[in-house]
């Protein structure tokens, strides 16, 4: 009965009995509801299988000893134990050791070599951080190499392969060629991406500069116009703002001219469509050009004089400036004012 650990669960449904006979012996996860006394007393009505009778005997015994109580009894599965036979392991290790010298074994136990300063290797080890983990392995190997090579040289063993010693390698030459090719490809692609990144940044910076230049120019123009306005109104009597702003403006203009000199778009278009083109017949009049009135300026070409002389009189009377009233009207107006 050692397997029967007791677990009290709230009683369900008073003295109703579940069909216990359905449970087979090996299944043993038992649900025995109600007290054992009830089980025994009511055995008249319920027919139990042979195994059930054994079970009841067992339960009876347990109950008599006071190991059972009312309620739901459930078998608990003991937690799995994992063997760790330390003595056996040690004995086996002693048996396994063959007492060969270090030169036969070449084993070394090392802490990882100290990390290079500047690398972020401090902090807790995260096994999912691939880079960090691989670097610890690398450093461990490094420490072993540093110690092992020294130890071998102390024992008088050659460690370094001479340049003219040729032998079969673990990886074939073809394979190493492929490795080298892959490395090269990677390097090239890295360089390309870096270049593209730089260009992108430069373009961004160029745009910013252009924007600034435009704004500066607008500002200067505004200031100039303000100064001119003030001068016109008579608030300023000197024209020195022209001298002040003149030279730098000019300088800027020349600078801008130089900048505008290289117009990439224009160059490309010239290259694509050809520069200049046919000049023949380009100055001939066409129907369109003769109908073009865009350069007709009425204030220049349409003077008052020509209007008065050439226009109809009736029109001139209507549209002309207001005439002076007659004498009597003027006198009337004067008297009214008084």
């Amino acid at each position: 009965m050692e397997w029967l650990c007791k677990l009290r669960v709230s009683r369900s449904g008073g003295n109703s009995l579940p069909d216990v006979s359905m449970l087979t012996r090996p299944l043993w996860i038992l649900y025995i509801i109600t007290s054992l006394a009830f089980l025994l007393l009511s055995s008249k009505d319920v027919h139990y299988s042979c195994s059930m009778m054994e079970l009841t005997d067992e339960l009876q015994l347990a109950f008599a000893e006071g190991r059972l109580s009312d309620g739901l009894n459930v078998q608990l599965v003991a937690p799995k134990t994992f063997t760790n036979h330390v003595e056996g392991l040690k004995a086996k290790l002693a048996e396994l050791k063959n007492g060969l010298g270090w030169l036969e074994r070449l084993d070394l136990t090392n802490e990882p070599a100290p990390a290079q300063p500047g690398t972020d290797m401090v902090g807790d080890e995260d096994i999912h951080d691939d880079f960090k983990r691989e670097l610890t392995f690398y450093r461990q190997a490094q420490a072993t190499v540093l110690q092992g090579i020294q130890q071998l040289q102390k024992l008088g063993v050659k460690t370094k392969r001479p340049e003219d010693y040729f032998a079969q390698m673990a990886k074939s030459d073809d394979h190493m060629k492929m490795v080298r090719q892959k490395l090269l490809e990677k390097q090239v692609s890295m360089e390309m991406s870096e270049k593209a990144k730089k260009m992108r940044e430069l373009r961004k910076y160029g745009k910013k500069v252009q924007h600034e230049v435009l704004q500066k120019r607008q500002k200067e123009k505004r200031e100039m116009m303000d100064a001119v306005k003030k001068y016109r109104k008579g608030q300023k009597d000197k024209l020195d703002f022209l001298d002040d702003k003149g030279p730098p403006n000019k300088k800027q203009k020349t600078g801008q001219k130089q900048e505008f000199h290289v117009n990439k778009k224009r160059e490309f278009k010239n290259q694509k469509f050809g520069f200049g083109g046919q000049k023949k017949r380009s100055k001939m009049n066409t129907a369109k050009s003769s109908a073009d009135m865009s350069d007709f300026n009425p204030s220049v070409h349409q003077t008052k004089h020509s209007y008065k002389s050439g226009g109809k009189k009736s029109n001139a009377k209507k549209k002309g400036p207001a005439k002076r009233p007659g004498k009597s009207k003027r006198q009337n107006m004067k008297s009214r004012k008084r």
């Binding site: 760790n84 036979h85 330390v86 056996g88 392991l89 461990q140 092992g148 063993v157 460690t159 390698m169």
Partner: protein
């Protein structure tokens, strides 16, 4: 020999001159050049390792096995073993092949790879699950080494802290270490095998020694050994150690399946519970609202038909 004789004669002559009888010259019993050449203590450690697998291993596992064979000049081959054979048969195979150690790759379900490492006739042996296999053929491993040069073996200090780790360390040293003066080995040192313990697993790496000041390049292969059990015997016997953190790939796969199955079940359940939680009436009604609602006699059904009729 002749030279020696001459020297002896000359002394005789000198002695003759002095005429003192000192003819009893004590000679060494054997002349040094007559001595048999000093025997170099060559290849005393005749350890051999049988490296082979069961049938049905994946290509990656096969490559891994071949890499190990290439790196271990003291390894021996054997054809793949049928899965139905019992594991203790391997002991007999090892005996036939004169091998004292064995690396046996066991494939299961065409996807899981287990590795046995064993000291052959008498044990102990260890069983591991092999994870994260990268072979030497991968192009990102840029190092190279002489075929058959002896590796330095680097171990994590963790290996000395627990008895099962130290037992496995000894097994690794004897298995992966190439015996000195092995006829197929090279006399230089240009690579390191690294065994580290992280996350209760053994991580294997192989680095080339580029310079002796400690710059390395990885050669490969790499793999991770998740220990399952350590047995006292070879391929069996009493269990000395059992890894409590080990979970079999079957179990993990089952969990994944279950999780996906759970997704559907939970969705159905959520729908059902929503139905249950929905109130019959979405808002509280005044029961007196439909007091004055009357049914037209034409719309009555059942017994109500008898009670109401339209006067016409």
């Amino acid at each position: 020999m002749a030279k020696r004789k001459r020297v002896i004669e000359s002394t005789h002559v000198r002695d003759g001159k002095r005429k003192v009888v000192e003819e009893t010259v004590v000679l060494p019993p054997v002349i040094s050049s007559d001595e048999p050449p000093k025997k170099q203590p060559k290849w005393t450690n005749r350890e051999r390792v049988l490296v082979f697998s069961s049938r049905g291993i994946s290509y990656r596992a096969r490559y891994l096995m071949n890499d190990l064979r290439a790196l271990m000049p003291h390894s021996k081959q054997e054809s793949k073993m049928a899965k139905k054979d019992q594991l203790y048969v391997i002991n007999e195979i090892c005996e036939m092949k004169n091998c004292g150690k064995c690396l046996y790759f066991e494939a299961k379900k065409k996807q899981d790879l287990y590795m046995w490492i064993s000291n052959c006739p008498s044990g102990p042996s260890g069983k591991f699950l092999v994870e994260n296999v990268h072979t030497m053929n991968e192009l990102k491993m840029t190092g190279n080494c002489l075929k058959g040069s002896r590796p330095l073996l680097s171990f994590d200090p963790m290996f000395d802290q627990e008895p099962h780790w130290s037992l496995l360390k000894e097994l690794f040293v004897q298995t992966f270490g190439t015996p000195n003066f092995h006829p197929k080995s090279q006399p230089f040192f240009d690579h390191v095998f690294t065994f580290s313990i992280v996350d209760n697993r053994i991580w294997f790496r192989n680095y080339q020694i580029l310079e002796e000041d400690g710059s390395l390049a990885e050669i490969g292969p790499r793999f991770v050994l998740n220990p399952i059990r350590v047995f006292a015997g070879s391929f069996g016997g009493t269990t000395l150690y059992e890894n409590p953190k080990y979970r079999s790939p079957n179990e993990l796969r089952r969990e994944v399946h279950k999780r996906f199955a759970q997704k559907y079940v939970s969705r159905v359940q959520a729908k059902k519970s929503l139905e249950e939680r929905k109130p019959d009436e979405p808002y509280k009604r005044d029961p007196t609202d439909d007091v004055f609602l009357t049914i037209r006699p034409e719309d009555t059904t059942g017994k109500a038909k008898n009670t109401s009729y339209r006067n016409s």
